[in-house]
Symmetry: C2
Subunit: 461 residues, 2 copies
C-alpha cells in the first residue's frame, strides 16, 4: 500500500503503547494502512488476561496465554514491536520516552495510541501488595501459584495446629469475575487435584474465603446471576463474606471491618487481591501537560472519539480510558482499538488523496455480554437482557475463550490442558520455581523475620 519509492520516514508514524487487547487490536486493524507502526510494550507478550487465574492455579502454562507479540505481528510488515517501559509522553514534541535495562529511547509519533492498561489498586494502601499480590501479569500468576502451593507444603511440615490453619486459609479479596474464578479454582485444586497427596494434612480441609466490601457477588452481572454464582461457590465449600471491608493486610492475615463497624481478624498466610484497578500512570502524565482530566482510578476522560482534549492525534483506549457505559473488559479495549485504527486509516487515505476526511463519528460500544466461570461445568453469562447459568453458560465460556485465544497451536494446547483438568482432575502446570515459591527477591527478608521469631519446630511428621 506504500507508494513506490516511499521510505519509512515519509510515512505517517503511529506509535502504540501497550500490547494488551487494545494495543494489539489497533495494530492489527492497521494492517493494510499506509502507516508506520511502532508498538512499544513493557512485556514481550500479548497477555490473555481473562485466563490468568488458570496459570495461577496450575491448569495452563504461561505460554498458552502469553505468546510473543512480535510473532503475532511477524507478517505485518508495517509494524515493529519494541520492548520498553514507557516513562513519559511529550505532547508538544510528539515523542514517547521509554527505557529498557537502563538504556533510554525517544520515539517520535504523528499519531499516538495509549493502551497501557491498568494495574491492581490497593486504594492507597500499597503496602498490602507484598502480602496480597494482584492478578495482572504472568509474574503475578506465577507468584501466586508458588504461594498457594507453597502454603500446602508448609502446612504439611508444621506440627502447630494454629499455624497449619493459617496456612490452609486462603483469602481472595474482591468478588468480581477474577475473584470468583480464583476462589473456585483454589477450592477445586485443594479438593480434587491435591487430594490424597499429603500425609500429615488433608488438603480438602483448606478453607477458601471470598470477601468483598460490596453487598453482592459479581455486581455488574445483576442480582440473579450473582446469587447463582454465590450459591454455587458455597456449595463447593467457598465461604463468602459480603459487606466486609479490608482495613489491613499483613504477613499473617487480614483485618476486616464489617458493615456494623466491628473489626475482626482472619489469620491467613496466602491472600489474593482482585479488588480494584488503577490505570497506568501515563494518564496522569497526559493530564499534567494538557486539559485532560483523569478520574480517581487514574483513567483518562476521553473525547467521544477517544482522543484527548486539544490533541486529536492522541487516543487513549482500553482500561486506561474512561468512557461512560464501557466496562473495563477485553471487549471495550478491542473495540476501542479497532475504532481508533479506523479513524487513522480514513484520515491517512484522505491525506493521500488530498481530500478532507469525514468528521469522526463517536465511539459506540457494542455490548457482547460478560461471563465468569464459577467451577468446572458451571458458569454465569449475561448477554444484553439474556442471562444464562450452569453447564450451557460454561460451554459458551469454553468456546468463546478458545475463539479469542491467539494462535491455532495455543488453542489446541489450551484445549488439551482443559481436557486434562476437567476430565481427570489433574493439572499439568503445578511447577513452582524458587523465584516464585520462595520469592528469591524476598527470601532474605523472610529469613530475617523468621530468625527473629525462632520458631524451631520439631519434625511434625
Amino acid at each position: 500500500m506504500s507508494h513506490p519509492g516511499a521510505t519509512a520516514s515519509d510515512r505517517h508514524r503511529v506509535v502504540i503503547i501497550g500490547s494488551g487487547f487494545g494495543g494489539l487490536n489497533a495494530a492489527q486493524a492497521l494492517k493494510k494502512a499506509d502507516v508506520d507502526i511502532k508498538l512499544i510494550a513493557r512485556t514481550t507478550h500479548h497477555l490473555f488476561q481473562p485466563l490468568l487465574y488458570q496459570v495461577a492455579t496450575g491448569i495452563i502454562s504461561e505460554g498458552e496465554i502469553a505468546p510473543p507479540t512480535r510473532l503475532i505481528l511477524r507478517k505485518q510488515r508495517n509494524a515493529q514491536v519494541l520492548l520498553g517501559d514507557v516513562t513519559h509522553v511529550d505532547l508538544e514534541k510528539q515523542t514517547v520516552d521509554s527505557i529498557l535495562l537502563g538504556h533510554t529511547y525517544s520515539t517520535p509519533y504523528d499519531t499516538l495510541i495509549l493502551a497501557a492498561g491498568a494495574g491492581q489498586s490497593y486504594f492507597g494502601n500499597d503496602h498490602f501488595a507484598e502480602w496480597a499480590p494482584g492478578m495482572k501479569s504472568i509474574d503475578d500468576a506465577l507468584e501466586l501459584r508458588g504461594r498457594i502451593l507453597g502454603a500446602f507444603e508448609q502446612a504439611e511440615r508444621s506440627s502447630d495446629p494454629e499455624r497449619r490453619k493459617k496456612l490452609l486459609t486462603f483469602v481472595v479479596v474482591g468478588a468480581g469475575p477474577t475473584g470468583v474464578e480464583m476462589a473456585g479454582q483454589i477450592q477445586e485444586l485443594a479438593d480434587q487435584t491435591l487430594k490424597g497427596s499429603f500425609r500429615h494434612i488433608d488438603p480438602t480441609e483448606a478453607h477458601v474465603i471470598l470477601l468483598d466490601a460490596a453487598p453482592a457477588v459479581l455486581p455488574p452481572m445483576g442480582e440473579k446471576l450473582g446469587l447463582k454464582a454465590k450459591a454455587r461457590l458455597e456449595k463447593m465449600g467457598v465461604e463468602i463474606q459480603l459487606n466486609a471491608m479490608v482495613t489491613d493486610v499483613d504477613r499473617n492475615g487480614i483485618t476486616v471491618k464489617d458493615k456494623d463497624g466491628t473489626l475482626r481478624r482472619i489469620e491467613s498466610a496466602c491472600k489474593v487481591w482482585s479488588a480494584g484497578v488503577q490505570a497506568s500512570p501515563l494518564g496522569r502524565d497526559l493530564a499534567a501537560q494538557s486539559d485532560t482530566e483523569i478520574d480517581r482510578a487514574g483513567r483518562v476522560k476521553v473525547n467521544p472519539d477517544l482522543s484527548i482534549p486539544g490533541h486529536p492525534n492522541v487516543f487513549v483506549i482500553g482500561d486506561m480510558a474512561f468512557v461512560d457505559g464501557v466496562p473495563g473488559m477485553a471487549q471495550g479495549a478491542i473495540q476501542g482499538g479497532k475504532y481508533v485504527a479506523n479513524i487513522i486509516k480514513t484520515e491517512a487515505k484522505a491525506r493521500e488523496h488530498g481530500t478532507i476526511p469525514k468528521p469522526r463519528a463517536p465511539f459506540k460500544y457494542f455490548d457482547k455480554g460478560s461471563m465468569a466461570t464459577v467451577s468446572k461445568w458451571n458458569a454465569v453469562a449475561k448477554v444484553g437482557k439474556f442471562e444464562f447459568s450452569g453447564f450451557f453458560a460454561w460451554l459458551a465460556w469454553l468456546g468463546l475463550h478458545l475463539i479469542y485465544l491467539v494462535g491455532f497451536k495455543t488453542k489446541i494446547a489450551t484445549l488439551l490442558s482443559w481436557a486434562v483438568t476437567f476430565l481427570s482432575r489433574q493439572r499439568g502446570q503445578l511447577t513452582i520455581t524458587e523465584q516464585q515459591a520462595y520469592a528469591r527477591t524476598r527470601i532474605e527478608e523472610l529469613e530475617e523475620i523468621a530468625a527473629s521469631v525462632q520458631e524451631t519446630e520439631k519434625a511434625a511428621s
Copy 2:
C-alpha cells in the same frame, strides 16, 4: 506390607534426600516394602533434567518436565514428600536437618539415601555464575530463556552496531550433551522461530559459539560421533572453538585462553555455562563426620554397595556419588536408586522374619547407552559398541525421552509441543516473565551500572 496394628513409628524409617532420578526411583522401588519413607527435597517437583534446554529455548513448558513429586507418589501410601532444603546430616544421632522458609526441622532415619545431585561448577570462579548461568534447575532454564530472548529485544532497539553484535553473540561454554543441545537450539530459535519477526535486526545473523577446553565435542561418545555432531552443528551455523579455556566471564563477554597460551576476548551479552558439575555440599558434610572421602567434584567415594565407610545404613546415589565406570547421567541415578531400594527391601524382610540377610552384592551398572540431539531430525547415540547418528538416532531419542517422561498427560503434552516445533518451526513457550527477563533480583544493580555508563541512545528504529 504393614503388620496389622503396626504404627508408623514401629516401621523402619527410610529418609531420602532429593527428588531427582535417584531419589524418586528409590522411593518408587520401595513401594511394596514395609518401611516408612520420607522424601525431603528442595523443590516440589521431580525434574526431568535432560529436557531442560527445551524449556530454556521455548519448546516446552516447565510443567511438562517438572511434575510435583507428591502427585507422582500420591498413591504410594508408605511415602511422604516433604519440601525443605537439607542443611546437615547427623550420622551419630541419625537425623537430617532441613529448613523451609526459616523454619527448621529434624527428621530421624534408620536408613538414609542421599540423592541430592549436583549443581553447576565454575571451577572456583563462582563469580562467573552471575553472567553465565548454568542449566540445572527450572529457574536456570527460565532465566536463560529471558536472557536469550531479551538479548534479541535489546538488539532490536540499539543503534550501536558494536552493541548489537555483542547482543547477538551467544556463547555456550562446555561441549557436553547439554552444551551441544543448547547451542543447536539457540541457533534454530534464531534461524527459524524468530526469523522475520524483527524489523531493525535480522535474528538469523545471531552468532552462536560453542566452546570447550577439551579438544573434542561430546568426548564421552567417542571421536566418530563427536565429529559427526561437530559437523552437523557447523552446518547449522554454530561456531565451534575447541582447546579454548575460559579464564574470565563478565557482563560484556568472556576471555578465552587458546592452546598456544594467547588470550582473546569474545564480546557477548548472553552466556550459558554447561562446563562442569559440583556435587551437593552434603558430601562434604558426610566427609567431615566419617571416613568418607570426596573427590574434587565433591562426589562421595562410596563402597561397592553405595554405602559410606562405617555406615552401612547410609547410601549415596546419582550425581552425588563417585562410582568407577558409572557416568553422571540419569541411568546411573535410576539404577543406583533401584539397587539401594532392593537392599533395603531384602534387609527389611530378613528383620521381619528374624533371619540374617544375604551379604550385599556390589552395585553393577548396566550401560544403556547415551545420546544427544544436535538439531531437529538429527541426533547421535551410542549403545555399547554400536554408534548411530542422524534421523534414526533422533527417532530413538524422541521415543526414549517420551518413555522416560513421567505421566501420560505429560507425554501427550510434550509430544504436542514437539510436533509444533519440529513441524512448524513455531515454539509454544516463549513467554518471559519480568522476574527472568529483567531479572527483578538484579535490575537495580543493572540500572546502576547503566546509569554510570549513560549510553543514552537515540531511537535506533
